[in-house]
């Protein structure tokens, strides 16, 4: 069966790109989509999760637990940050860009100063498998499954739990929520913490595949940004399909022209989408649904 290895290769490329986009943008999408805040420190939350995961994994913790630690640490840091800085920026989107970029600078440099230019990471677990004549990393397949699971989990969280309903209500109509007795400040804090935690999760999941450097967040930030902007404010109607489409574009361009043109293709896609669909995919889909 010649067909299977070829289509598996395509599926793998796509799945790899898709997983990367979904996992890395989930946290940003939650914060931007639900709170309207552009978090340029997103990459640093990822770095935080990655560093914690790598350190705890090397200290002996099994990888899944280490990843959980990474995510949790990032979430806690996020909640602290929300209380101290972010809280004051809710209706100032441009100022939130600047402030979070400042935080990103501080975080990157602080890690560089305290922990040095790099830290030993952990190796990629689970080895590889042969399909056709090529070998594929099993861990990357696990990442794809994680991405799908993540989307499912977030859906359950936001649409099936009390927290999710309250969070969505608070973000859409804060005065109403407050009138109904919701502690909106706690909701904002928890939601930001969730976004930060998801970023930490991304860092933890990808830690075994990358070298630990303080600027590793930069690898994620541009593409997760692109996905969130193209997707629009809604994670499920927007970011997920956006990730799928962008994954196709990126995988195709990378396969034909190489890494750099894959990147350029994504950026051009952003420009085109913003011009043609100002609210992103989700606004477009919602209008189409009517």
């Amino acid at each position: 069966m010649e067909f299977f290895p070829a289509s598996f290769s395509i599926f793998y490329q796509f799945g790899n790109a898709f997983a990367f986009l979904v996992i890395s943008c989930a946290g940003l999408a939650v914060i931007f989509g639900m709170m309207g805040i552009i978090n340029l420190a997103h990459g640093e939350f990822i770095m935080c999760g990655a560093y914690v995961t790598a350190s705890t994994a090397r200290a002996g913790l099994p990888l899944p637990l280490a990843i959980a630690c990474g995510a949790l640490t990032a979430a806690l840091v996020g909640m602290v940050l929300e209380r101290t800085v972010i809280r004051h920026l809710y209706h100032r989107p441009l100022d939130s860009i600047i402030a979070t970029w400042g935080i990103s600078l501080i975080a990157t440099q602080a890690v560089l100063i305290l922990l040095g230019p790099s830290m030993s990471g952990t190796g990629t677990p689970l080895g590889s498998t042969l399909v056709g004549e090529r070998s594929y990393s099993i861990y990357r397949l696990v990442l794809f499954a994680s991405a799908v699971g993540l989307l499912g989990g977030l859906y359950l969280l936001f649409y099936r739990t009390r927290f999710g309903v309250i969070a969505r209500a608070t973000i859409q109509r804060p005065e109403m929520a407050r009138a109904l007795g919701v502690d909106t400040r706690r909701v904002y804090g928890l939601t930001f913490g969730l976004g930060a935690g998801l970023a930490g999760l991304a860092g933890g999941l990808y830690a075994p595949t990358m070298t630990m450097v303080p600027t590793m967040g930069a690898t994620f930030i541009v593409e997760s940004f692109v996905t969130v902007v193209v997707g629009g404010a809604d994670i499920f109607l927007g970011a997920a399909p956006a990730a799928a489409i962008l994954a196709v574009i990126k995988a195709a361009l990378t396969a034909w022209y190489g890494q750099l043109f894959g990147q350029i293709g994504l950026l051009v896609a952003v420009i085109v989408v913003i011009r043609v669909m100002p609210g992103g995919l989700s606004a477009f889909i919602k209008r189409w649904q009517r």
């Binding site: 441009l94 600047i98 501080i106 602080a110 950026l267 420009i271």
Partner: protein, 365 residues
């Protein structure tokens, strides 16, 4: 309360041409008016003129380096502070013009004032490119955060593209683009002179030329911003729908302001290349794209004077910090940003000047 003075009424016939433009040096869009303010300005310029007498050529050349960046900062001040569009794209025009200067001068040399022609063309290229992007954005009704995103994307596309031009096939005429290694070997600004052209390498002569440019640019912008054009920009910033409903084609004004910002960023880019005879794609990278925003945010974007002073202070401060430890310099930069946003959102320099002004109980308008 002042009696109603609308000076235009009785003096209108006399205020034409030069007098009209000079009167626009002061106005509602710029801080500072009256003899006391202008005395301070004159003193500052005199101090700058005499600075080279007290410092060696290298240090003066370094000060010239600071001046190079002020145009980009002022341009961003116009686009962001006066027109309300946060652009991450200034470094795209910076880089484009820088490379243009390099390509043109490598190809046609520096004789007979060619470098000045190259400077002009590079600035024009930056401006035209900015007009195109401005057209794409503002006539496409892109606004707010998305202006930032589109401009950042453009900058990154340019950087990514230029970074992979390392191969020998990437050349324009005699000029090899050289990818991430950067382009070098272009001549500095050269003044044609009988008996031997004066090459303006980083040093005192270049310092004076740049100082003159900064002063001209600053005064010119003051006049423009207090003119009806500036009024419309500010109106668009404050309430774009209302500005449209008063009969202004706001897309046109935004595009023009953006073009001006691009031309000024291009001026910085070309001068930077002329100053150091070197330009690389990293001048269009993520960090480089955000630096002008730092200067303008910390200085104060609502006022061109604050922007100019803020830019000089932050760059000088950053450089002195880097001498002591570049890692700490960036931490301080970050902290400065957060502090500015939370405590003095109008900008550190702007707020400081305002406080001082109130201390001297300046009578306004």
């Amino acid at each position: 309360m002042n009696p109603i003075e609308l000076p235009d009424a009785s003096e209108a016939p006399a205020r034409r041409g030069l007098k009209l433009w000079l009167s626009r040096l002061e106005g509602p869009q710029t801080m500072g008016r009256g003899p006391a303010f202008w005395a301070v300005v004159v003193l500052a310029v005199l101090a700058a003129l005499s600075y080279p007498a007290f410092a060696n050529d290298y240090v003066v050349g370094n000060a010239a380096y600071f001046f190079v960046w002020t145009f980009m900062a002022m341009g961003l001040g116009v686009v962001w502070g006066y027109c309300g569009a946060l652009s991450f794209g200034q470094t795209a025009f910076f880089g484009l013009a820088g490379y243009a200067y390099g390509v043109i001068t490598i190809n046609i040399g520096s004789a007979f004032g060619a470098t000045w022609l190259a400077l002009l063309l590079a600035v024009a290229l930056g401006g035209v490119f900015a007009l195109l992007i401005g057209y794409f954005m503002f006539y496409g009704r892109i606004k707010g955060v998305f202006v930032g995103i589109v401009t950042l994307s453009v900058t990154l596309v340019l950087e990514t593209f230029m970074a992979q031009t390392a191969g020998p096939q990437w050349r324009i005429g005699d000029a090899r683009l050289n990818g991430f290694n950067g382009m070098s070997g272009m001549p500095p600004l050269t003044v044609p002179w009988p008996g031997g052209d004066i090459m303006l390498y980083s040093g005192t002569a270049l310092y004076y030329v740049l100082l003159g440019m900064v002063v001209l640019c600053y005064l010119g912008l003051r006049m423009l911003l207090n003119a009806p054009f500036g009024n419309v920009l500010v109106a668009i910033r404050e309430n774009p729908e209302r500005a449209e409903m008063l009969g202004y084609d706001i897309r046109l004004y935004q595009m023009l302001a953006f073009g001006l910002g691009g031309a000024l960023a291009g001026l910085s880019g070309a001068l930077y290349t002329a100053w150091g005879q070197y330009i690389t794609p990293s001048s269009m990278g993520l960090t480089a794209a955000a630096l002008p925003i730092v200067w303008v945010a910390v200085g104060g974007r609502r006022d061109i004077t604050a922007t100019l002073l803020g830019c000089l202070l932050v760059i000088a401060g950053f450089q002195s910090l880097t001498i002591y430890g570049s890692q700490y310099a960036l931490v301080v930069m970050g902290a400065l940003l957060v502090f500015t946003v939370l405590v003095t959102p109008d900008g550190l320099v702007f707020t400081a000047i305002n406080r001082m002004g109130r201390l001297f109980k300046r009578v306004r308008r």
